[in-house]
Point group: C2
Chain length 334, copies 2
């Protein structure tokens, strides 16, 4: 079996670590795993299949011989180093927002639009976590009944803002338990025992960056540039995995029974919808899962062509690391 | 100034305590405050305006001389004791779901339908907390532009399930901080660092009891028996105050500017909508407030006659104790 040289850029970050775990979990045919990060992490060792691998410096010369470079180090570093990786002959899979909306760059979820991979010019974008989780569940319903409107409200975990944000949540509950004053430095508001509008800038249309990403990225991946979508993105005091309350409208009437049947057979989706036991998707249950959980599948009481759903998915996996590795697997198997 | 004899039924519960605090805060003209509860709380003393008052047994004879009896002891106790209170000459304001949908019983939010009070037959129902918070904000928009559809997803605090549920959340974060196994007894799922579909029974239409209450109670209070509404009710690890992500459609186009203007002058509503500072309603900020906070007021990107909002309100106050006391104030001032 052919093996590949894989670089992970931003290897010491929350998503970087998950990429290493997913490569192990998938038994990915790795020849060399090269871990790249900024200078302050050089020499740090991370385990891959129980072997310690030293982190190397991220620089233009770091990509020699690399087949696939998975970037997860922010938009700035992608803009700085992606071209060096491509020049070295690597295909770049980028987790940042740098090129997601670039018409020259495919934005791909393998369950949705694997065909877009064939047009890549050396770089493929991985979608925003919230859009990835949402799109994976909605795509099979769109194929069946043509979605004409999406309304989504999210319940996003702290780790979506990085490992430090997750630590801040842990620190704040510790302070609460010890009766100390709660302090904050990562999020603009207390996250423990609180809920707040997503911590990204509000753009001119009144929506924050996260909400606008969901709208634009779903439209791009679905090849539906005018699909009506509205999103409300909210942080909740959860460590990991995002949840989403979704209402869709469809051109063709979609009964809950038919939707459940379609989703039961959809790749990347796991139906968790036990009404008798009140057992539905939860972030704790989605944590560590490659599949996205969906339940509460029911008719929208306010619209005969509407359907309501509740989704939980691990934003570090399907929302980031797993989708990126999955893209590489697709490229290899083509 | 005329003073009144007020009974609080379920005085030792989470809402009962809040009713006592609201009576103090409003400087309500109390002659006698009679605190009633089940036998296990008899003799327990609660402070009212710094005076200790002993809890008495809830029984048919307990209502002699009472003008207003505010019940917050569950539907079963209301069914058992409300008629005794009415026979004794009291007007009952009931926080439970026992009579909310009874066509003979007014279900009232003073900002919405105070006129319905005049038809009461001795008992007035206080709405469900989620419906109360939602209705208070939406009513002035309905008056202006006629709402034709409501889609709401909630972020409900632990204390909505009672004081014990709030203690369970505190206990679970304590266990987490001390690296102990997390245990549960009140909620069916772990609430710390988790999110789950509301812990009420799923009814035949696929919606849980809480969701169906929101639909039916809003319709009743708005006098719109067929208003299309769909709700998704979700618990989040917040101690107190519920939040709601809302999308409405209106017959007459309602711009965000006009909606903000209307809500700025609406009774019981406080607009918190600072896009530059990313400052919007949060449960921590709503806790202890009589008013309901609303922000993220923006056009629904998926519908030209749609408007999106985010709401936080103290479910123990406007969602329970405060609305009940406010009903009594209305009755007195008529």
């Amino acid at each position: 079996m052919k093996k590949y040289n894989v670089a992970v850029v931003g290897a010491t970050g929350a998503v970087g670590e998950e990429i290493i775990r997913v490569l192990e979990r998938r038994n990915f045919p790795v020849k060399e795993l090269r871990l790249l990060a900024s200078t302050r992490s050089i020499g740090k060792k991370l385990l891959f299949n129980n072997q310690p691998i030293a982190v190397q410096e991220l620089k233009d010369e770091a990509f020699d011989g690399i087949d696939y470079a998975i970037f997860s180090a922010g938009a700035k570093r992608t803009r700085e180093f992606a071209s060096a990786a491509i020049r070295a002959g690597a295909i770049v899979i980028d987790n940042s927002s740098a090129f997601r909306l670039d018409p020259e760059v495919p934005l791909v979820i393998p369950e949705i639009n694997p065909g877009d991979l064939k047009n890549h010019k050396g770089i493929i974008a991985n979608p925003n976590c919230t859009a990835a989780i949402l799109g994976t569940v909605l795509w099979p319903l769109h194929c069946e009944a043509k979605i004409t409107r999406i309304i989504v409200s999210t319940y996003q975990s702290a780790s979506g803002a990085g490992a430090q944000a997750m630590e801040e949540l842990k620190q704040q509950v510790g302070q609460f338990v010890r009766n100390e004053a709660v302090t904050k430095s990562v999020f603009p508001h207390q996250i423990a025992f609180n809920v707040f509008s997503h911590n990204t800038k509000i753009e001119d249309n009144g929506y924050n960056e996260e909400e606008n990403k969901v709208v634009k990225e779903i439209r791009k991946m679905f090849h539906e540039p005018h699909l009506p979508i509205t999103a409300t993105c909210v942080r909740v005091p959860v460590l990991r995995a995002h949840s989403e309350s979704v209402v869709i409208e469809t051109e063709k009437k979609l009964t809950p029974e038919r939707a459940r049947q379609i989703l039961s057979h959809a790749p990347g989706v796991l139906v968790v919808d036990d009404r008798d036991k009140n057992h539905f998707p939860m972030p704790l249950a989605a944590t560590g899962e490659l599949d996205v959980l969906v339940g509460r599948i029911r008719e929208d009481l306010s619209n005969p062509h509407g359907l309501a759903l509740f989704i939980s998915g691990d934003q570090l996996l399907k929302g980031a690391a797993w989708n990126a590795v999955q893209i590489v697997e697709c490229l290899i198997h083509k």
